[in-house]
Structures are given as structure tokens and as C-alpha cells.
């Protein structure tokens, strides 16, 4: 075990391999508030990568409904439970200790609970690299089933999932949100750590984590160790497969991309415009280069509006989420860490810059390496949480890897009015 720096935990942690970082890191921001669960992303991935025999139950990208849903079933509850057991065995009461706001490398404070790697090392005797579990076939086989019924579990036969007693009114306690998931191309991947074959590697150019299809011997240690359950076993080839981050597009080899890095299939297909994906430049020590004009860096590190998914697992995932405004805060804090309050405050009343950057989502397929904002007039004023808030019709411009303008969007969507003869002509 080596000591490695995990900025999401605000501390060093132990990991089987010493630090070694790519030049850039594949990363993405998802705005949960906008997802309509259309599954276009899931189908975009499936029709590109997993349409062959043996991949029927494989959803490298999936969208599940929280709190009941999960693919594989109850994955997060199970991993959280394993960590809870490990912490209580060790007598650790996990908590986030505040750090000084100025500490760039500890934006959410410092977490003192055990990660999946540390929990494995604390087992007596230690036998594995990360705590985890192996989901059974039926846990993968029916994604989304029973997720959107009023109560969890299998509905009574013939009930169509409707409750006999109806929903309880007037107090409306039901809540849900959609969680969009794919491999997080983690900085400290558990799949890679657990593979005794060393068949999993993280690419030095973009941090994409891949399974070498020639080396894998189907041990499924990665399936067991990945806390996000994004490494999957394929029965027809008897080896494991996972999201490849559409690497030909990231490399700019897609014929459409004009040689420029292009966002992945699941990102660029999203009609809800919830997804923005990019490449983040890393310093030699692995920390994010301070590049506030990169939209991902701006949202994650400067505005802190997007948060990592279950940072306490310890893999330093590179997918970040703008949390849903309406879900209970303690649930969100468990899922995204202690940055939730601040992130939601900033999302509810976005700064002038953030509002502009949010317009970049799904405005182009090219990866945006830099943005600039051209200021426009004030178009709206209101009060949010008792404070005045103004909206400006700024223009945000995104630039590709070579610094060429890739997209230009205004905050206010242009309005076109149909001429009278064609109103309601559909």
C-alpha cells in the first residue's frame, strides 16, 4: 500500500499503487435537475458498444431512479453497508472535518472514515485490495424495474404497482430523482487495484480506464471491487468489459470531429442537455491545474456547484453532479458529500458566469477546452432566498483544443414567433 493524495477526501489515503497521473483527465458534469430519464444516453451507448451477444444485461451508461432504484440492484446501499460495517468494526465514526476555505486541495473538508481500500487493509487478515461484493445475475437483469412505483419492492400480482390505499395526502412526502451513471474513470480505480492480472490500465494521455481484452482472464475481481459496479462480466467472451469512454471520439478520430476531441456518445446524445464532458489538465502531482476558463474546472473547483458521487468510497471519481434541488439534504450529503448545501445555494442563484457556462451543456459535440463570456444587457431581476438576483443576456463562447471557436450561445434563448397563419398548424 502506498500513500496517495485524494483531494475529494482532503487527505492522503492508502492505495495499492503509488501515485502516477495522466496529463489530462476525462471528466464530466451532470446536472441532475434537468434529466428527464429518457434513456437516450443509455441507448446511445448500447447501440455503439454493447449490442452484441453476451452484452444484453450490460448498460455501461444507465439512468436509475433514486432512492429505490439501482443498477445492479441496490448497489450503493450494499457498498455503503460494507463500509459502515468496516468503520464500526474499527470503531470509526466517519465524519467530514471542516478545513480552511482557502485549502484548494480539500474543498469539501477532510473525511476521516475508511475508504474501500482502507477497509480492506483493516480486515484481519487482509486478503483483498478493496472491500466489495459480486452482484448475482438477477441483480443486473432488470434495470429500472419497480423503481417508479410508490413503494419499493415487487407489487402484488394484478395491482399494476398501484397501492390499495392510494398515496397519502395532504402531506406529500414522496420524492425521487434520476441518477445518470457511467464509469467514473477514477483517479484511483478500484477495478485496476483489484485486478491480479494487471489487465486494467489507466491511459497516461487522458486518464481513461480500460480493460485489456487480451489479458483479462475473467477473474471478475474488478466486478467485485468497483464500488460503482461499472465493470461487467460478459458470458460470451468470459472476460470483463467496461465503458471505454468512447476513446476514439476523445482522440478526435471520429469522422465528424474534424480531428478534434469530441464528447462521448452518451454525452452528446442527451436531449435533456444535462451533460457536459471535458478533459481536465493535471499538474505533475496529479492535482487539477488551476484553469478557471475550462468549464469543468470552473464548475467543479471554482463554483463548487458539481460534486463527486460517493467520494467516501475513495476512488476519486471523475464524474460530478449538480445535486437535485428537491431531495432531502441528508440523503444528498450521503451521496455527494458535505458540499451539497453550498452547491445548491450556488445553483439556485447562479453567478453571472455560472449561468453562462450552464448554457454550454450540449451546445456542441466538440470538447470545450476554454470558454469566454461576452457581457450582455440585464434582462431580468428578482429575489432569491431573500436576496436580489439579476439575469444578464451574456454570450458564452466555447473553444476547441486548438483554440478555434466551437460554439457561441446566449443566456436568453432566442424566441421565434410563428407568423399568424401557421400558429397551431401542427
Amino acid at each position: 500500500m502506498a500513500d496517495v493524495r485524494n483531494w475529494q477526501l482532503g487527505r492522503t489515503m492508502s492505495y495499492p499503487y503509488p501515485e502516477s497521473h495522466p496529463d489530462r483527465q476525462f471528466a464530466f458534469v451532470f446536472n441532475i435537475n434537468r434529466c428527464i430519464a429518457c434513456q437516450t444516453c443509455s441507448m446511445a451507448c448500447k447501440s455503439t458498444w454493447t449490442f452484441s451477444k453476451g452484452q444484453e444485461l450490460m448498460w455501461w451508461n444507465n439512468v436509475e431512479t433514486k432512492p429505490y432504484g439501482g443498477y445492479p440492484r441496490h448497489w450503493d446501499v450494499k457498498v455503503l453497508e460494507l463500509l459502515d460495517e468496516a468503520n464500526s468494526t474499527a470503531g470509526v465514526e466517519p465524519s467530514w472535518q471542516p478545513t480552511t476555505a482557502a485549502d484548494r486541495e480539500a474543498p469539501y473538508g477532510s473525511y476521516d472514515g475508511m475508504t474501500i481500500f482502507e477497509a480492506a487493509a483493516a480486515e484481519t487478515p487482509p486478503v483483498r485490495q478493496a472491500v466489495g461484493y459480486q452482484p448475482a445475475p438477477d441483480e443486473w437483469s432488470a434495470p429500472n424495474i419497480f423503481e417508479d412505483v410508490p413503494h419499493p419492492g415487487r407489487p402484488a400480482p394484478g395491482s399494476l404497482g398501484l397501492e390499495q390505499d392510494g398515496a397519502q395526502l395532504p402531506e406529500h412526502v414522496a420524492w425521487f430523482f434520476y441518477l445518470q451513471r457511467l464509469c467514473n474513470h477514477c483517479t484511483y480505480p478500484a477495478c485496476l487495484a483489484a485486478c491480479p492480472r494487471k489487465a486494467i490500465y489507466k491511459r497516461p494521455e487522458d486518464g481513461i480506464v480500460l480493460i485489456d481484452q487480451a489479458r483479462c482472464r475473467g477473474y471478475r475481481k474488478c466486478v467485485e471491487a468497483c464500488p460503482y459496479k461499472k465493470s461487467m462480466y460478459r458470458p460470451t467472451t468470459r472476460v470483463s468489459e467496461k465503458c471505454v469512454a468512447c476513446y476514439p471520439r476523445i482522440e478526435g478520430r471520429d469522422p465528424l470531429s474534424d480531428g478534434m476531441p469530441m464528447e462521448t456518445r452518451c454525452m452528446s446524445a442527451c436531449p435533456g442537455k444535462i451533460r457536459l464532458q471535458g478533459l481536465v489538465a493535471l499538474d505533475a502531482d496529479g492535482s487539477w491545474a488551476d484553469d478557471p476558463q475550462n468549464p469543468i474546472v470552473f464548475m467543479v473547483r471554482h463554483e463548487k456547484v458539481a460534486l463527486p458521487l460517493y467520494p467516501q468510497f475513495g476512488t476519486e471519481p471523475n464524474g460530478f453532479y449538480i445535486p437535485p434541488r428537491w431531495a432531502p439534504r441528508d440523503y444528498l450529503v450521503q451521496m455527494f458529500g458535505p458540499g451539497v448545501d453550498e452547491a445548491l445555494a450556488r445553483y439556485r442563484a447562479p453567478s453571472r458566469e455560472l449561468l453562462a457556462v450552464l448554457q454550454l451543456f450540449r451546445a456542441t459535440q466538440k470538447i470545450i477546452f476554454r470558454f469566454e463570456i461576452e457581457e450582455g444587457p440585464k434582462v431580468f431581476e428578482t429575489e432569491i432566498d431573500g436576496k436580489p438576483w439579476s439575469m444578464y443576456d451574456d454570450t458564452v463562447i466555447g473553444f476547441d483544443q486548438q483554440g478555434r471557436e466551437a460554439v457561441r450561445v446566449r443566456v436568453e434563448e432566442p424566441i421565434y414567433q410563428r407568423p399568424a397563419p401557421r400558429v397551431n398548424s401542427i
Binding site: 444484453e56 491480479p196 494487471k198 483479462c216 482472464r217 471478475r220 467472451t237 468489459e241
Partner: protein, 335 residues
Amino acid sequence: MIPRERRLRALGLLLVILTALLTAFGVPVTSAQGTTLRVVRSEGTLPTDDPWSSAWNAIRPVDVTLSGQAVAPPRLLLPNVPTVRARAMIDGERFAVLLEWTDTTIDEDVIDVSRFADQAAVQFALGSGTSVCMGQQAGALNIWHWKADWAADLAARKDIEQRFPNAPQDEHLPPDLAEGAGLGPDGFLTGRAAGNPRSALVRPSSVEDLVAAGFGTLTSEPLERQDVAGASAYRDGIWRVVMSRRLDNADPNDAPLAVGSAIVVAFAVWDGAKGDRNGTKSVSAWLSLVIPGREMSLLDHWPFLAMMLVVLALGAWLLWIGSRQPAVGLGGPPS
């Protein structure tokens, strides 16, 4: 009284002679301490295809104790299979080893993500200084790895339909599209396209012929050099697996199995039902596998006897010289 250093010198000489004698008569005194597996010369045809043949039953097996694998993660601390019984035979052409162990279930399904197959392996040390743990830089290993799933595949490769008859059967690539892309109706079979032997449509044997030189270095030999045959049968709670190969096949990556030689071997067994795979296995310590030569007459030993005579003469001469010197020098008590 005989001086101390002279006594030591005589003792050393005795040890040299003893070692030479033991080695000459096939008793290993190298790193392979422990049990010896003596290969039996087959009277009739070698029962390579029939693990339960009476010819195998006629040989007394060597009980080999297995322990867990506690060196590298994933570890197994207590063995899931505590003993394996080993027998070995040769005829003029082939060498065969039979492993037999108790297992309450047949596990040959690897279609189901949560199931693992029963497996067994023999590893041969290539050169000296090899570690029992997958070989080290100093010496490589040749590994014969039998897998119950590969054995089950031999007749007809198992596919999803056998394990999950009600699994969704998507219409995959339309034939015209599939053929245009050089694919079958099953579409892209990535592992197979990458040449992974696990994903292969047909395999020559249930035993994979591998080399390794340290953890994580296990490498399958190329298809044309996969020359280990396998036969296995499960009966009344017992697995029997025969692995066989031509005697010395002149492949430097393969165990040199020459008549009249000894080689260090170790065994490993995996119980699929317990989730065993990779490092979670029950392993033996090194054993000496002794392949007898033809029967030898006393005269066949002449080079050895001549050498012994020289050594004895030299020893006697040294002792005589020693007795004429005063007792000084290294290690002598101060006078």
C-alpha cells in the same frame, strides 16, 4: 583428541559424499524437500484419456497437503481443498499426471457472473531458484492448467442459452450487416477478436499450457505450442484429472520431461463453488517429480564411482596434511 577444525573438515567431506550418493540414486536434496512423486513406467498403453482406468488405480497415490495462498492478494488463508492425491506415469513417448481431490460439487459454469469453475494446475520449475509463487525473475514456470469449464466446452462450447434458457434473445446484427463487417450474428466478440484463449470458439484441450515468471505474468503459450492434453471425470464426489504431454518436446518454455531426470513441481486446486479463482487457491509446496530411467546395472555407475574414488583420495590427502600442521588458523582457540 582430534583438533576441532579437522573434525569439521571431515564432517564436511562426509556431507559432500552423502549428497553425491543421494543425488546419484535419485533422492532430491535441492530446494524440493518434502514428498517425492515417482513416475511409474506404464506396462500397457498410457491411460491418458481415462482418469478412472484400472491402470491408474493400480498405482499408490502420493497424498499432497495443500495450504492457502497468503502471499499476494487476493489471498486465501485456509485451503478450500486440503489434499490432492497425485499419481504419474510414462510410457516410451508420453508423460501423464493424475490429480484427484474431493469436491462436493461439479462447477463448470462460467456463464453466470457469480459462478466460477473447478480448476487444477501442475507447475514445473524451469531452472533453479524458482519461487513457488508463480515463479520469480530467477526462474520461470511452466504451468498446466485444467479448467472444468474448458473441459465442458470441448464437446460443444457452452453459451447463454444453456445456462439461462429464458434470457432475452435480442435480434443481433442483421446478416447482411454482419457479413459486411466480417462478423457473425453474435456481433463483436471483443475478447475473441483480441485473441484471448478464454474467449476462443474452439480450444485444442481442456488444459492450458502457460508460462509465468512472477505474479501477474501468467502467459498462455501460442496456439501451436499448446500441447498438453486433458481428460477429466467426476465420480462420487471426486474429481480426477489427467494431464499429459509428449516427453521432452524441445520447447524451452515447457517442462523438460526427460527419462532419468527429476524436476520440481507443485500443484494447485480451485473449488469453484467457494468462489476460488486466480490467487484464491489451495497450493502445495514444491515436490520432486522423479522420472526413472531404464533399469541400470552397477557398471552404468562407473563415472560416478570413479569420481567418488577421486574425492575420497583427495579427502584422505587433506586429512593427512591437516594432521601434520600445528592447530592454528581461522577459528582456532587462542593458545
